[in-house]
Assembly symmetry: C2
Homo-oligomer: 340 residues x 2
DNA sequence: ATTTTTTGTGTAACATGTTACACAATTTGG
DNA sequence: CCAAATTGTGTAACATGTTACACAAAAAAT
């Protein structure tokens, strides 16, 4: 790999001059500039970002940690982050943590070791980590800013971007109630703040609409497709059988729909189904899946925005907490054909 | 950000000793080791990878360039790459090029500037770039290895991993012919090697099965969903109307199916549809989409494998070219119910 | 007890850039 | 035409690590 010294030698100038040419800083005569430029081209020289960042102490690198790259939710969020950051000259360093405590800590350390200028951590639920603060402390103590997507109680002043899960679940449940269902099964996710909040929305909608809650209607899943399938099998056994199902995320809702298909139960005529997240699959599957719309792209963008404003110190106050609102996309899976 | 000097000072030893503790190299007494370890913990010190890579001239970073992170094909491929590389201690630097010449060149330069140890470039079709060699030359001239996913004529000895498009298209077409269709419309992609090859498979299957080709049945798309929808509208106008459609990728096939749905044409009874890539959506949509299976994950893995073998010099011969074989996943979209 | 070997630690050079400062060559102004 | 201002270039220090080499202390061998 060629270095600035080789370029300097080939051009017959000092390294300082080469640096000036590259960074277009200070005085350089046209004649010299051309000589240097030519040497650079011949050697295919590119400045070593590592060495560069030693002096400038900025790498233009942002660490992004997501639990699962394959999950459409995080994917779209990443897209929002990437679009915003790329434009500002930053480049992303992706890493997958798989909702694992240890792994998460490792990747944060790895980011620090690469001297990222900042990092964005995403998780379905940070509360599961015994001590989230311990994970991010190394970053903060070294003045590397961190923003979070999700739920945390932190003693640090940290920016977070979240989503109004209570309201979202409320909307979906209310919609089902308004469609005349009074027995709505719930496919829940793993124990987490996110699940709790979505449950709360489900609950409140019942209360506000004077429909009594039946704990027997709650079946637990793990946010993955297969668990949705399994949960639906259990629901089909129930007696009396619920006429509607609300799944805490789309992937489980889709699993549930597959179970219904396999058992020749028609959606929405016999059982209506609603999901959460509004991933792209909702419009692909038939009947199309009613779902709570989460502005994933915008959430990503906001995360990036928060981070950058911290980094360039245009903001340095207490931890901000932006909660994005919900909207329900009503589709075929909850609207009987004669009602359409 | 704390440095090795601060650790050394706090522990009352020299930087060399701290370095020894961190890298577990050379002799260090237990007592000293503990003192240093403690200082590291207090300061939350992490070695600066940038400085480290200055001396070791290895960053453990691999650049990965894909045209579109949102495309399920590249996504799964990335997963294969990531899984393989992560295990070996490498970390990925993702970048999106959007099938753009300029952008691609930029990102390669960016990778070099970050002194990646190697890079993997993916494209649907490299031939579209006027001079692909010019893009990768800076890397190769600096001894940074490059592997490609796709089609290129290069003067360099470069490893490539591809897929047998001719055979894949042949299988899909043959299947449709065997199902009794003699008039099969083709939704083609943008002009590219990939399209040419898939066309060749379509053509050869016709010839081998003694069915005459009808150029009027070919409609051009751009590999995106909407173009599949539009193409299908044109196909529906044809007279006589074809009884089957083969789309050069799944995304277009799905667009086509949506058009058929909107026009209440039943699949596969009135028109059979087959796609290419076997993305996850094939199993989500109804009827399930018959598609050519591309071992995306394995292709990603192979790319990573090729790269690493070049990097650690366990291989340094001429450019390898691995072509993965095809298989057809037959699903509902091409098999009439009474035949099931 | 002396020599040899092993263990433990520090000094200084190097990897690749940036940049403050010094100095020389031009150009400008009176 | 000479002082002042501007322009052009080099030297050397610094950023943060690794490591060869030197040297001292402790342990083992004779």
């Amino acid at each position: 790999m060629s270095s600035i010294y080789q370029v300097a030698e080939m051009a017959g100038v000092s390294v300082a001059t080469v640096s000036r040419v590259i960074n277009e800083r200070g005085y350089v005569s046209e004649k010299t500039r051309l000589k240097v430029q030519e040497a650079i081209n011949i050697l295919h020289y590119t400045p070593n970002q590592a060495a560069q960042s030693l002096t400038t102490s900025s790498t233009k690198l942002i660490g992004l940690l997501v639990p699962d790259i394959n999950n459409p939710v995080f994917l779209e969020q990443s897209k929002g982050i990437n679009d915003y950051l790329k434009e500002k000259g930053y480049i992303l360093m992706y890493a997958e943590s798989g909702e694992d405590d240890e792994e998460m800590s490792n990747m944060v350390r790895r980011f620090l070791s690469n001297r990222v200028d900042g990092m964005i951590l995403c998780s379905r639920d940070f509360t599961q980590f015994g001590d989230m603060d311990a994970i991010i402390e190394p970053a903060l103590k070294n003045n590397v800013h961190v923003v979070l997507n999700g739920y945390v109680d932190s003693k640090f002043e940290i920016d977070r971007v979240g989503f109004d899960n209570v309201r979202g679940a409320y909307l979906a449940t209310e919609h089902l109630l308004k469609m005349g269902h009074s027995s709505i099964a719930l496919i829940a996710g793993t124990d987490s703040t996110i699940s709790e909040e979505r449950y709360r929305g489900y609950r409140e909608a019942h209360i506000d609409n004077h429909v009594s809650l039946n704990p027997a209607l709650v079946v637990k899943g793990d946010f993955r497709q297969h668990s949705g399938y399994e949960a639906m099998l259990k629901i089909l056994q129930m007696n009396p059988r619920p006429t509607a199902v609300f799944a805490m995320n789309d992937v489980m809702a889709i699993g549930a729909m597959m179970a219904l298909e396999d058992h020749k139960v028609s959606v929405p005529d016999e059982i209506a189904v609603a999901g959460f997240d509004d991933i792209i699959w909702c419009s692909l599957i038939r009947p199309r899946l009613t779902s709570v719309v989460q502005p994933k792209y915008e959430i990503g963008k906001k995360l990036a925005e928060f981070l950058l404003s911290r980094m360039n110190e245009s903001y340095s106050g207490p931890g901000r907490h932006e909660i994005f609102g919900s909207r329900l996309a009503v589709r075929q899976s909850t609207v009987k054909s004669e009602q359409q």
